[in-house]
């Protein structure tokens, strides 16, 4: 187990040597992830871990991959997707062009879920989905649109609960234990590395989804991310957060209206 002081040391070294700033991350979770990696890789001392992080860029990459949480699923929280499908997307439909940003997309399952919703609403042709993450490895998976076949049973159930009426298996081709989603979807997606900690706004969007990312940030870093989202949202655009995240108590609270009790906020005019 690493102690608090050692964790702060690691955070400082990572920033100094690699420019990644984890100082705004919630400590309880970050510490757990670092501890897990420490055990996983069989380090005998924290000094040994620090030295590898400092001197081996490949190891640092591994650290980023392992300490960031990349757990995701298609139509995660299906009732959230039901609201998107029935109440938000019909509003977006009136726009000549729809720009969506998935911030912290991990391996992209939620981006493909969105593509399915857009296609079923006949809007995919005029939509573009930007998907970003700080972890380049998960973005590679996301780009391919290939997910484990064994997950499809649950995803198909999520899809159904979200109001999906089609046969979910029509959306992918199954091969060697994997499900590959169609290139008509990937054609409408742009994947790129982007850090909510250090990067700025890069476009204007009608809908930004950032679900279960802010839980890993402290209040200050959350506020930075909120400002970034605000700078990147068109008037009357929507911001969607995870089930347990909120815009309440943030600097944006006054200029946004919550959509019913859902984790979706609309920017005022």
């Amino acid at each position: 187990m690493i102690n608090d002081r050692e964790l702060e040391l690691l955070i400082n070294e990572v920033f100094e040597y690699h420019g990644f700033d984890f100082s705004g991350y919630s400590r309880a979770s970050l510490k757990r992830r670092v501890d897990r990696l420490y055990q996983l890789d069989g380090f005998k001392s924290v000094g040994e871990m620090l030295s590898r992080v400092r001197t081996e860029p490949e190891y640092f990459k591994r650290m980023i991959e392992e300490i960031t949480v990349n757990v995701t699923e298609m139509f995660r929280d299906p009732l959230f997707y039901k609201v998107l499908r029935e109440e938000i997307i019909p509003v977006l439909a009136t726009k000549p062009f729809i720009r969506i940003w998935h911030a912290g997309c991990a391996s992209g399952e939620e981006v493909y879920s969105m593509a399915i919703l857009l296609q079923e609403a006949n809007l995919l042709h005029k939509s573009l989905m930007y998907a970003t993450d700080i972890n380049p490895l998960v973005l590679q998976t996301a780009k391919k649109g290939i997910f484990p076949l064994q997950m499809m049973k649950q995803y198909s159930e999520n899809y159904r609960i979200s109001g999906g009426k089609k046969d979910f298996s029509d959306y992918y081709t199954a091969n060697y234990g994997f499900a590959k989603f169609g290139s008509d979807f990937t054609a409408k997606m742009v994947f790129s590395e982007h850090s909510l900690v250090s990067d700025g706004s890069f476009n204007e969007f009608d809908l930004i989804l950032c679900r279960n990312v802010l839980i890993y940030f402290d209040k200050e870093l959350q506020d930075r991310a909120f400002t970034l989202f605000d700078d990147s949202l068109a008037k009357l655009g929507y911001l969607a957060l995870g089930t347990k995240e909120t815009l309440k108590f943030s600097s944006l609270q006054k200029t946004y209206t919550q959509h019913n009790k859902d984790k979706i906020w609309k920017k005022k005019e």
């Binding site: 309880a28 757990r32 757990v71 995870g242």
Partner: protein
Amino acid sequence: MEKERIANRYKVLIIGGSAGSLEVLMELLPGLDILPSFAIVLVLHRKNAEDSTLEELISYKTSIPVMDVEDKTALLPGFMYIAPSDYHLLFEADNTLSLDTSEKINYSRPSIDVSFESAAEVYGPGLAAILLSGANADGTEGLLAVQNAGGTVIVQLPETAQMPFMPSNAISNTNPHYVLDVDGIHQFITNMNS
């Protein structure tokens, strides 16, 4: 002064349980009055569902106010908190709760081990942890962490548990301060900080 310090030893009571633990809580909670000197946190294995049936059920059975747990919810004495489904519940040094969607531990999210370990780290001797009925090994590692941090370890008497595996496993691998039936647990909680 000394007396007062001892009287306020506990900051947090954390209770973990799996199969058969809800029944224990249904029996235990109605008998508890408001406990203003510490917070109560429940970490129960629950179905991955978006509804809040468990919160409603528990609120209905207790006079202790149940706070909705969201990201960075403040942990306050006198209130009860329930780990939301599909998240691990963690404790921050500034007395807030944080959430984590990382991999399941012991096939569970929330995992009892994860919350117990995190609470032990922040609250040390100011933590009391109770492990109830269950058919899974979750909780044992967490109780060890509580024990090592100087907290108080309580396990439900396995013979009184609908699913004795979880408490039995904990008893074999830790040195619980108390092994109690539901009445004993009730007694312990009512006497905390008094």
